[in-house]
């Protein structure tokens, strides 16, 4: 962009801004939203943008059908005399450098009072550094890398649970199943691909497995993009653990085929999302995918037990013709939490908003998430977040844990290959 065009654009937007303030009596609260709107993650980015727009629309104009939601009466933020929320979107293209410079632009030129984003953990990392420097609150709604809340930042808040918590959920699930079905699980094994994702998961599983009193009898890692998993599966077969914890991307399908071919099946296979949560997984494997359990952040069938989820999903679908997903549901929740804090702060001063965020206390029944609520600990992490576990039943992922939100009872153990029809 040449300097002349740039300055004329700035002039135009300044003029527009004046025109806007002149025309409306109400104040506008600008919130910067940094998301991957182009590039390989553009389709996820578009869904999250639509969810944020829905949340802003509910705050500004109300949602009569969903009285459980905060601000459902409409009319903006009561704490700020009905001020409306205005989202200013920025595209980070999945690039941490772009994310940082866009954060800089939103803070300095758009004068946003807070930032929300950025989906990709590595972009959240750089963009929130900028926010911290300018003392502007940054709310991370979807990034799940545990390190983000280990940096000692004062202006960083994360509503979503992080990966460590998700890994821990698998063990809590097994504990609950043991109690409910009066069975005893003693041994577990792990299978993980050898990039960062699999290695980290396997390390955490070893740690939390021991903490929960399970013996991890074998930890197998394999090279990503492998052509065969024979020796891996034979090793697992020999180890004969009751539960297999698996972290795989594209090899999820190959592994299931090899299990069947070699007649291997543990009592339960608990997968760590990724390749197992892909729609291709159930589509490709058909009935061989049945009974596999995977961790998830969210599922639409949570709405069976929590009607607020169905209602918000109906609103979302009527606007965008698609259902909410784990990503868009978390974006929606993130903006609602931010709006709640700004409202309680009754001010656009970032310092006051920070203090209000730190004092957040939202009950579970006001959320479309399977969480126990929203309350930030000293690191800025939501201490009440939780994941869910889903099981493939009739080709669909059904919530089976936590039990009070389950739409189906878990089938445990998985039926043997030769006992299926």
């Amino acid at each position: 962009m040449n300097p002349f065009r740039k300055s004329s654009l700035v002039a135009a937007s300044v003029a527009l801004a004046f025109a806007a303030t002149g025309a409306r009596a109400q104040q506008e609260i600008k919130i910067g939203a940094i998301y991957p709107l182009t590039g390989p993650l553009a389709s996820s980015g578009a869904e999250m943008r639509e969810a944020l727009e829905l949340a802003a629309d509910i705050v500004n104009n109300g949602a009569k059908g969903v009285p459980e939601l905060p601000f459902s009466a409409g009319g903006g933020l009561p704490g700020l005399k009905g001020a409306k929320i205005k989202l200013v979107f920025a595209d980070h293209q999945g690039n941490p450098q772009v994310g940082a410079s866009e954060a800089e632009r939103l803070v300095n030129q758009e004068k946003v009072v807070a930032l929300i984003g950025a989906y990709n953990s590595n972009v959240t990392q750089t963009a929130s550094q900028v926010a911290e420097r300018y003392k502007i609150p940054f709310l991370s709604a979807e990034s799940s890398s545990p390190t983000l809340t280990a940096r000692g930042f004062k202006y960083f808040f994360r509503t979503t649970p992080h990966d460590e918590l998700f890994v821990r959920n698998a063990f809590e699930f097994v504990k609950d199943v043991e109690a409910a079905k009066k069975i005893k699980v003693a041994t577990m094994a792990t299978l993980a691909e050898n990039t960062l994702f699999g290695n980290e998961a396997a390390k955490l599983q070893a740690k939390y497995g021991a903490e929960h009193g399970y013996s991890i009898v074998k930890q197998v890692s394999y090279p990503a993009k492998t052509t065969q998993l024979t020796s891996e599966v034979q090793t697992l077969k020999a180890a004969n653990a009751q539960v297999l914890l698996q972290s795989s991307y594209s090899e999820a399908i190959l592994s299931m085929k090899t299990y069947k071919e070699l007649g291997y099946l543990p009592d339960m296979l608990i997968a760590n999302d990724a390749g197992f949560a892909d729609t291709e997984f159930t589509k490709t494997l058909g009935k061989d995918a049945e009974y596999v359990v995977s961790r998830e952040v969210w599922a639409l069938d949570l709405g069976d037990r929590k009607p607020i989820i169905r209602k918000v999903d109906d609103l979302f679908r009527s606007r965008n013709k698609i259902d909410l997903t784990g990503n868009s549901a978390r974006s929606f929740t993130g903006l609602m939490v931010l709006a709640d804090a700004i409202n309680r702060a009754a001010s656009t001063d970032p310092e006051a908003i920070r203090a209000a965020l730190a004092a957040t206390d939202i009950a579970a029944d006001k959320l479309i998430m399977p969480w126990k609520g929203v309350k930030f600990d000293a690191t800025g992490q939501n201490a009440l977040g939780a994941g869910i576990l889903v099981q493939v039943r009739d080709g669909q992922y059904r919530t089976v844990w936590p039990f009070d939100l389950a739409s189906r009872e878990v089938v445990w153990p998985m039926p043997r290959w030769d006992a299926r029809k």
Partner: protein, 289 residues
């Protein structure tokens, strides 16, 4: 660790090794005749898989029945690639040749992604589906059929090279281009033939793999690294060498994975590869330069 487990693993290793061999034979053929390393070879395999997939998805024809058709299609593609692209760089420096076949690789991948999406596809309910019990071993029927198919194709290629006039002409071109030309052999026709057969071998491997391996645009990458190792190990240009080296790599990968640890399986194969390069650079069955 029981004897049964070892035998079972050994059998799995031989079966995957036969597939490696089939992919590598096509690669070694093109190299042997033309001295060109075909980086797009994995993509021939991928296209063979997609050919089987679409014949199955659109016309409900089983990959085993359409295997001859897949092989023919890939043969034609190989000849076409030679005529349109490779012929022009036949005498170009090696670097240009490498970039050309590398470019072809990217092109085929990109086209596959564009037309068929990056989704994973599989062929469900093929004639080959199921398992077989063999002397107490439990093996996947698709793998057994693929292994047998690989043996048949390799034998056919070997027979063609060593027992037919055309094959002899191809061999002659491979060993000495100039001398063959002086004997009245049209070397350009032989190059085209080598590309056709090379691609057809990859197509056959793709068709056989499609009954049990997921099909996606990047699938060639999973196999091509192993194929290069096999070609080197067997000796550049040696069909029989590639065959035995393929089986050897398959067995070492699987047994090494079981006995030493699955995380090292690729490393074990590559260490062996380095050892061969150091102590027997012409490969197990290659001719000394």
């Amino acid at each position: 660790m029981t004897a049964e487990l070892l035998l079972q693993t050994l059998a799995s290793g031989v079966l995957i090794g036969l597939i490696y061999a089939l992919v590598a034979i096509g690669l070694t053929m093109i190299f042997g005749v033309m001295d060109i390393v075909n980086f797009a070879h994995g993509e021939f395999l991928m296209l063979g898989m997609y050919a089987s997939f679409w014949l199955f998805a659109l016309f409900a024809l089983d990959p085993l029945l359409t295997l001859p058709l897949t092989v023919l299609m890939l043969f034609a593609l190989g000849v076409l690639v030679w005529k349109l692209v490779i012929r022009r760089i036949a005498d170009a420096p090696a670097l240009s040749q490498i970039f050309t076949t590398f470019g072809l690789m990217l092109l085929f991948r990109g086209l596959a992604q564009f037309f068929w999406k990056p989704d994973y596809r599989t062929i469900e309910g093929s004639l080959a589906a199921g398992g077989v019990q063999l002397a107490g071993l439990q093996l996947g029927r698709p793998q057994v059929i693929a292994g047998l198919g690989a043996i048949v194709v390799t034998a056919a290629v070997w027979f063609f090279l060593h027992r037919t006039r055309l094959g002899a002409a191809l061999e002659a071109t491979a060993s000495d281009k100039e001398a063959a030309r002086l004997m009245g052999i049209d070397s350009h026709r032989m190059f085209g033939l080598a590309w056709g057969i090379g691609a057809a071998c990859a197509g056959a491997a793709g068709g056989l793999l499609s009954t049990f391996f997921p099909i996606f645009p990047e699938v060639g990458a999973n196999f091509i690294l192993v194929a290069f190792v096999v070609v080197n190990l067997g000796g550049f240009g040696s069909v029989a060498g590639a065959f035995w080296a393929g089986i050897l790599v398959g067995v070492i990968e699987v047994m090494g994975g079981l006995l030493i640890g699955p995380q090292y399986k690729t490393a074990i194969v590559l260490v062996l590869f380095l050892a061969v390069l150091m102590f027997r650079p012409q490969g197990l069955m290659g001719k000394t330069a």
